[in-house]
């Protein structure tokens, strides 16, 4: 059942990205471009997604998950160096191409060679990430 839920969740996620226009890089870059013809759509997508999820978090307080033993425990609340550096690097890539991981997969079938090249580069970046993390940790202990 967990596997069926996963497929349904992925399908809804993908349809939501398609309907909202987030698979169109112009809309993402248009939202980030406050000095150009600013496109407010992304703010509505974020708002629309956060509302049902906020309700879901409230529901986790009084019950157990349907197909699991317990809900995930929230990570330690510290704001680490990796969170800040990683988010900044991610934002730079997001701005350059107008794609983040979810929409990159969702638009893979109609994104042409460019879409495929982005996903392959992203996968390569994910494989490099642990090495970057080690280097950053070494630099931090050395200083």
């Amino acid at each position: 059942m967990r596997n069926l839920v996963s497929f349904v969740v992925g399908s809804l996620f993908g349809l939501g990205l398609l309907i909202s226009g987030m698979t169109n890089t112009n809309k993402v870059q248009g939202w980030l471009d406050i000095f150009g013809a600013w496109d407010p759509t992304l703010a509505f997508v974020m708002g629309g997604a956060i509302i049902p999820m906020a309700i879901a978090w409230q529901l986790t307080k009084a019950r157990k998950p349907v197909f699991a033993d317990s809900f995930p425990t929230p990570p330690a609340p510290q704001i680490g160096r990796n969170l800040v550096i990683g988010s900044t690097l991610f934002g730079m890539g997001w701005g350059l191409a107008g794609l983040c991981p979810g929409p990159a997969i969702a638009s893979l079938s109609f994104g042409g060679v460019g879409g495929v090249a982005f996903v392959l580069s992203m996968a390569a970046g994910m494989l490099i990430a642990p090495h970057v993390r080690t280097r950053l940790d070494q630099a931090a202990t050395a200083s």
Binding site: D33, M92, W94, G102
Partner: protein, 141 residues
């Protein structure tokens, strides 16, 4: 153009519903970079099927949707240097930060997670500055 925000709100609601179902049924966080990353580097071996099926749905549903709509535009740049650089940055950055727009943005902000809010602040400011520099100053994108 005027109705785009309605599509945004409806599409966003469906994304939020998907994240809510994943949490309430499977007790999992719907973070795209974490789910993909676990498949790419092998760290998600124990729940490989669950991850792979989510990604399959994420790929197939919009593929059919776009087919029915008669195609959908991505307007991705034709500059492969930019594409590769952007992909590498997104891959490294999301794994280093342990999350992206869906994990930190949708799932984190909705439970008022400080990490989610800080991460989202940084990637939005970095993204905005990147667009200003590379579009308006350098004219690359």
């Amino acid at each position: 153009m005027q109705v785009d925000w309605i599509y945004g709100l409806v599409g966003g609601g469906i994304i939020g519903l998907a994240a809510a179902i994943f949490l309430l049924f499977n007790a999992r966080i719907m973070g795209a970079s974490g789910i993909i990353g676990g498949l790419v580097d092998g760290s998600g071996k124990s729940d490989w099927t669950e991850r792979a099926l989510l990604i399959a749905g994420l790929f197939l549903a919009p593929a059919f949707g776009a087919l029915i709509m008669g195609g959908s535009e991505t307007n991705i740049t034709g500059n492969y240097g930019v594409i590769v650089a952007a992909g590498l940055l997104v891959g490294v950055g999301t794994r280093l930060a342990n999350g992206c727009t869906s994990g930190h943005g949708v799932c984190g902000i909705s439970r008022l997670s400080l990490r989610g809010i800080v991460a989202t602040g940084f990637y939005i400011v970095a993204g905005g500055l990147t667009v200003v520099i590379f579009k308006h100053l350098l004219g690359v994108i």
